[in-house]
């Protein structure tokens, strides 16, 4: 039997009359790299927002490591081991690169207003470990030397890596990447592919939404295709490339 880290059961989300995610059921196998693809408006990002707790489902269930996530708040889900990046990166612009990654340690540390204000011993211990861990993740994405730079001053491609480091800093078991390859050049994409492999080796399951089919085929062990909020197909990259329904969804059926 396969070990599923995430399972969606008849998950639905409607915005007024528009059904963005329509009764999707799927299972994500642990320690795999899974790609979710589909044309614009297929509901990929909405699916991420449902899994991370930004939207509440209209109906259906989300199971993470055999725990029902419906009703669990977004910050709590981070603590349980779900981290994400955004299509539009969303770094904290006026914090340094290192501080951005340190913020990623939020769910793995505790010191609040009082410990900070009075500089209690626990604060110092914790702060030290936060800095250490954040530096480690920053080095992992190869940006250690930019620790002190303001995040907004970094080039686009490196901002994307910082966002990944920030997500990793929360020690996730499941990492959701929303279009990690978008806007990157060929070389950056190759580095990203390597990075994803290294993350997988840390026994982190990766689910990515991606439009670059070359990258999807190279990196993803399993591909799920969404179209207008429904699951159209799933399988290995090779299976998906041959699937007639998928080809029709991407190219249009009546074109020929």
């Amino acid at each position: 039997m396969k070990d599923y880290i995430l399972s969606l059961r008849n998950l639905r989300r409607a915005f007024g009359g528009i059904v963005a995610v329509a009764d999707v059921s799927l299972d994500i196998e642990a320690n795999k790299i899974v790609a979710i693809i589909g044309p614009n408006g297929a509901g990929k990002t909405t699916l991420f927002n449902l899994i991370t707790g930004y939207y509440l489902p209209t109906r259906g269930e989300i199971w993470f490591q055999n725990k029902l996530l419906n009703g669990v708040s977004a910050p709590k889900r981070v603590e349980m081991g779900i981290a994400r990046t955004f299509q539009h990166i969303l770094l904290f612009p006026h914090m340094t690169v290192l501080e951005n990654v340190m913020t990623g340690r939020h769910s793995r540390s505790r010191a609040g207003f009082i410990e900070a204000a009075l500089r209690l011993p626990r604060f110092h211990r914790e702060e030290e470990s936060i800095t250490l861990e954040a530096t480690r993740y920053l080095n992992l994405v190869g940006l250690g030397q930019y620790a002190g730079q303001e995040a907004i001053s970094m080039p686009y491609g490196q901002q994307k890596l910082i966002a990944i480091a920030r997500a990793l800093a929360s020690e996730p078991k499941l990492l959701l990447l929303d279009e990690p390859g978008a806007g990157l050049n060929t070389m950056e994409k190759r580095d990203l592919t390597d990075l994803l492999q290294r993350i997988k080796e840390m026994s982190i399951t990766i689910v990515l939404v991606e439009h670059d089919m070359d990258m999807v085929m190279r990196v993803a062990e399993w591909v799920i295709v969404l179209d207008v909020g429904r699951k159209l197909a799933e399988g290995t990259g090779a299976q998906i490339q041959r699937d007639e329904k998928v080809i029709a969804a991407y190219l249009g059926e009546d074109d020929l």
Binding site: P75, F92, H94, M102, T103
Partner: protein
């Protein structure tokens, strides 16, 4: 940011610190009195900096919390004969609880809506201070608020009160400075940067917003208590909503995202108030003009602005030499 800039910031702070410690010894009663008020207002502006500059949540109603501290202290000591040292923490605690209860619904608002909401809060409390006259004395206020003393030592001269209020102000600065450079401070700044991304790293955004709101209200309340024990009299007038706006102006002039700037901004605006008075009716126009000029030429506030000018001047000089 270059390291040199920070060293200059510290040097400036040290210089101002020395000036503040020595000022009452000059024997200048006028400035000693003004600087007592600057210390009290700084406490309010420090809280606003945490709330607005770091967390990005606007409040146009902080005079309400200032007034709560003032009135609760005054009522407990005058009407019920409590010790000021008991009244002050109780005032701070009650103001904190009230801020919490108000903040729960209010902080769900964002941007301009939050500004309007807090503005409304300020106006409502100003009306309450006036209308609850069996407790607050209404527009004519409550006279006879006792002064502060510890054991046999009474803070009954400006000289003594000066050191009391500046010590409290220094403690608030230290506490805020410690909070900013911590996990909590990073969470607050993260919320300012992006609420969606803050949630994605596990920050409970509403909880942090409300905590910093309550903290700034407690600072304001303590400032209010110290204010009434200084004046020995309280009336609603100082807590009208225009004063809230003035506090925001002080915070902005000092540099919102700069806790030390809070004191400079407060000092600058208070001094301007004092000296523009000589221009009679023109003072409002001059005040506005200075505000606009600061915002155009030093949009990040007075302290970062002056440091920036100094850097520029120095760079030009080194270039001219080369």
């Amino acid at each position: 940011m270059p390291k040199r800039l920070f060293r200059w910031q510290y040097a400036l702070v040290a210089l101002v610190f020395a000036g503040l410690v020595l000022l009452p010894f000059s024997g200048d009663a006028y400035y000693t009195a003004i600087f007592i008020i600057i210390a009290i207002h700084s406490m309010l502006v420090i809280g606003l900096c945490l709330l607005m500059g770091y967390t990005g949540q606007v409040s146009l109603g902080h005079a309400a919390f200032y007034g709560m501290g003032a009135f609760i202290s005054a009522i407990l000591t005058v009407t019920y004969n409590w010790s000021p040292w008991l009244a002050m923490p109780l005032a701070a605690l009650s103001t904190g609880v009230i801020a919490y209860l108000i903040g729960l619904p209010l902080l769900r608002l964002r941007g301009n809506y939050l500004a309007m909401g807090t503005l409304g809060m300020g106006i409502i409390f100003f009306i309450l201070f006036n209308e609850l006259d069996q407790y607050t004395g209404g527009p004519s206020g409550l006279p006879g608020v006792p002064g502060l003393s510890v054991g046999g030592f009474s803070f009954d001269t400006d000289f003594r009160y000066y050191y009391l209020v500046w010590s409290v102000c220094a403690v608030m600065l230290l506490v805020s400075w410690n909070i900013i450079r911590s996990r909590t401070g990073r969470a607050l700044r993260a919320i300012h940067g992006s609420e969606a991304a803050s949630e994605a790293v596990g920050i409970d955004v509403p909880q942090f917003k409300i905590k910093v709101f309550v903290l700034s209200a407690i600072f304001a309340s303590i400032a209010g208590s110290l204010y009434v024990h200084y004046l020995s009299y309280v009336s609603p007038n100082p807590f009208e909503f225009m004063f809230s706006i003035r506090l925001v102006v002080m915070a902005v002039i000092g540099g919102l995202a700069n806790i030390w700037g809070a004191v400079f901004g407060t000092g600058a605006v208070t001094m301007m108030d004092q000296h523009l008075g000589t221009f009679g009716e023109l003072d409002v126009i001059l005040f506005g003009l200075i505000l606009v000029l600061v915002m155009i030429f030093m949009p990040r506030g007075l302290v970062p602005g002056i440091v920036g000018l100094w850097e520029k001047w120095k760079n030009r000089r080194t270039k001219a030499k080369a």
